[in-house]
Amino acid sequence: MEVKGKSKGILKRISGPVVTAVDLDAHMYDVVKVGDEQLMGEVIKIDGDDTIIQVYEATDGIRPGEPVENTGMSLAVELGPGLLTSIYDGIQRPLEVLMEKMGSFIERGVSAPGLDHAKKWEFKPLKKKGDEAGPGAIIGEVQETNIVTRIMVPPNFRGGKIKDIKKGEFTVDDVVCTLDSGEEVTMMQKWPVRVPRPVFEKKNPDIPLITGQRILDGLFPVAKGGTAAIPGPFGSGKTVTQQALAKWSDAEIVVYIGCGERGNEMTEVLTEFPELEDPKSGKPLMERTILIANTSNMPVAAREASVYTGITIAEYFRDMGYDVSLMADSTSRWAEAMREISSRLEEMPGEEGYPAYLSARLSEFYERAGRVETLDRGFGSITVIGAVSPPGGDFSEPVTQNTLRIVKCFWALDAKLSQRRHFPAINWLNSYSLYLDSLSSYYDENVSPEWNPLRVWAMGVLQKESELQEIVQLVGSDALPDEEQVTIEVARLLREVFLQQNAFDPVDTFCSMEKQFDIMKAIRKYADLGYDAQKSGAPIAAIVDVKAKNELVQIKFIADYKSELDKILKQMDTEFAKVKEA
């Protein structure tokens, strides 16, 4: 932000992404230009005359004696119109621009601003001369995609009365508004990524983020402004789940951070999102999305920064009053980047070689989520959903454990489930959501008063099934009492019909709350009729053989399911009537 005075120094040592400079006036986290090629770096340690710098690009060929220049600014992102639909690397360089400048491979020493400074945007003022405009106040807007970017007085301004406000087409550098404090507002603001943007007040989250995923919405909901973690071994479906959330959750803005993950996965998002429609607006999903792609083979220091770049962009949209959801895939790679840099600094390691400040960094990051009253007195939220990749699928490792201490929602992925292609492979016994209580009134009012009791019932059946399965493993299911055999059958329906969801089926990929409720009710109906028939002495084989219940699976793949469902329910009644007669 403010320039603290430039200064020049000389490189003394180069060891991979960490370099040491001498004779440099620097402050912690100042951005510096390293070497003749001016590679971008950041000050991470000051020790006597030595300044230690992490470099965001490969340092091959750089020699001691080359110059280092301090820009006097901390790592900041450019915030303004033009963010939406963009795809950036970890330090907000647009990948499209990088491709134009250096071709298909990412070479180094190329800088590219986060926003297009030449493009003109239509600025529509929302305030007029003489109006009060404090820090964070919304003074105008730009219709960007189908989403409006609201132009705000930067939160670090003093603010004041508007002396002059313009209307028309401007670039992001043009002054659109002057305040009587002498401050000039442009459509772009710069904000240092490691500093959370201020809000008026944090609120408690009490509205669910509807994701269209039955197991999440139904059993383990996350609130708008909440935090959730998805840990799981490789191949258990973290990325598919993250992408399903990015696609279908009812947030207004989605920030997707591919942090140290696969290049082809980002390409998949890039090719798929523009073609998919937002179920709410009917517009391409890409229009509400910002992607940050720092793949595993891109520089590790930029990977460390990518998470901060993402959350700062999310905060900017939250300050406009939007509900933002942020997916970080994967926070383990971020933690590993910290570990790598820390070990280059020869810091005393904590658990498993991770730095001792791992826990602090993780909690600082997740704490930037939340539902807030903005400086403009509007409401906005950031929901943070972090994937965790525990080595060997062992949840006792430091990143998973430190994450669990902070987040309120835990969606435990299970390799056993994914191996039998039960997707989403979220284990219903180990997962939890601490938002159930604060969200329950929302469900009463917006879904049905029956919803909360139904969920409690379903969880009970699944819990009971896991106990019964232990017995079945020993003696076989025929040895169970009839009543419990019905329970086993009901649990199977819950698993196969309700919990399993096919992310690749055009209909089943998104399931509305109404449909979730209808499916759950249908299963409950089978359970009620089943127990009733069993009590009146019907043979268990006949109850299990009821054909109608097997038809329920097909409901998932039908868009207009209502009439088909009615048919199945009627058939169920008839079949049970026969069962009881016999």
Binding site: L95, S104, R108, G235, N297, A415
Partner: protein, 459 residues
Amino acid sequence: MKEYRTISKVQGPLVFVEKTEPVGYSELVNIVQSDGQIKRGQVLDTSDEIVVVQVFESTAGIGRDSGVRFLGETIKMPVGKDMLGRILSGGGKPKDGGPEIVPEERLEITGAAINPYARASPDEFIQTGISTIDATNTLVRGQKLPIFSGSGLPHNEIALQIARQAKVPGSDEQFAVVFAAMGITKEEENQFMADFERTGALEHAVVFLNLADDPAVERIITPRLALTTAEYLAFELDYHVLVILTDMTNYCEALRQIGAAREEVPGRRGYPGYMYTDLASLYERAGIIKGKKGSVTQFSILTMPGDDITHPIPDLSGYITEGQIVVSRELHRKGIYPPINVMPSLSRLMNLGIGEGMTREDHKKVSDQMYAGYAEGVDLRGLVAIVGKDALSERDRLFLEFADLFEDKFVRQGHDEDRSIEDSLDLGWELLATLPEDQLTRIDREMIHKYHPKYRKKE
């Protein structure tokens, strides 16, 4: 060129040199021994006072009297069209008695990252002729799919069968194989070379050989040379390149050896904390680039120490690669070839390359249903061991039999048996037909009516 005689310390593969002029990070180094022998190395750490050099060959013979020359450039690989058909050492020197490579270009071996924005989505189905891969863990062009195996299992045979049979149905574009061996035995080398010669594959292959008795540190550059060559063939000369890297476990051991010599803080099981990033810098060099005709598909082989899939090497690999093919000792003991266990196997890019217009519309659902059925059958085996087969219900008995059939008919096939995708899927349907129709919950009714053998016969 200035030669320094200021070596202050030699430790394992590392040589410490004092009082030099400024030396660039990653720069290439020649060390001249008193007997005139020249060894190659690379700068790992550079400062005013001391430069740390990692030597790619044995440090035997290097002493205080050895000279050190800094070459002023990072390691480059000479590449050219005449590389096809050549056999090179793990350090890139000709090993077949032929002439040096005539370089058309000299490329940095570290290789820059492909801009994710420049990548094209891999969606071209590669038919390997192996049912457990084609039908249930489909490989696509530009994918990186490793084989997770164990010592004594036939992973080499599987890799060779894939290299022999892999093709994109209906296309006759030029393809090449780049084969990089790291620390394999002479016997294994012979096995690969004999097969390459038998099938004539050598003509369009480039082979890099670092054998078990070659310097371990050389293994650090072998895969990088191979991938640089592959990228050149793919993105400059429009080849579809299949890269086979074997054995990644030996590569990781070499990485650990250097980490230990540098006295770095070790991560899990003594492997360096940056192993994920290092492996990614190899595995991520696969893919397709928009506007270029060629592609790089990677097939790496690693042996899991103690068959443990949670060991850091398979674990970190699995987090980077786009799936894995797991070879099972249990199936191997049953005498089934290829002993691929589909349950822990996975192809992440499968869904991009299958379905209507690519393979067949029922592909995904048949695959899911077979997984579910096989998983259930395998579970029941545990139960049968306790209560006996007679205690099973009729439904359970069918699933149990399905699992046996699946292994015997679907998994098992001959070394030279090249099944088309249609054959594999039809075979799948045949096996699924042994299950009650209402148990096929993963398949919608329309597909069942179209493909289930019961309805097909009526036509």
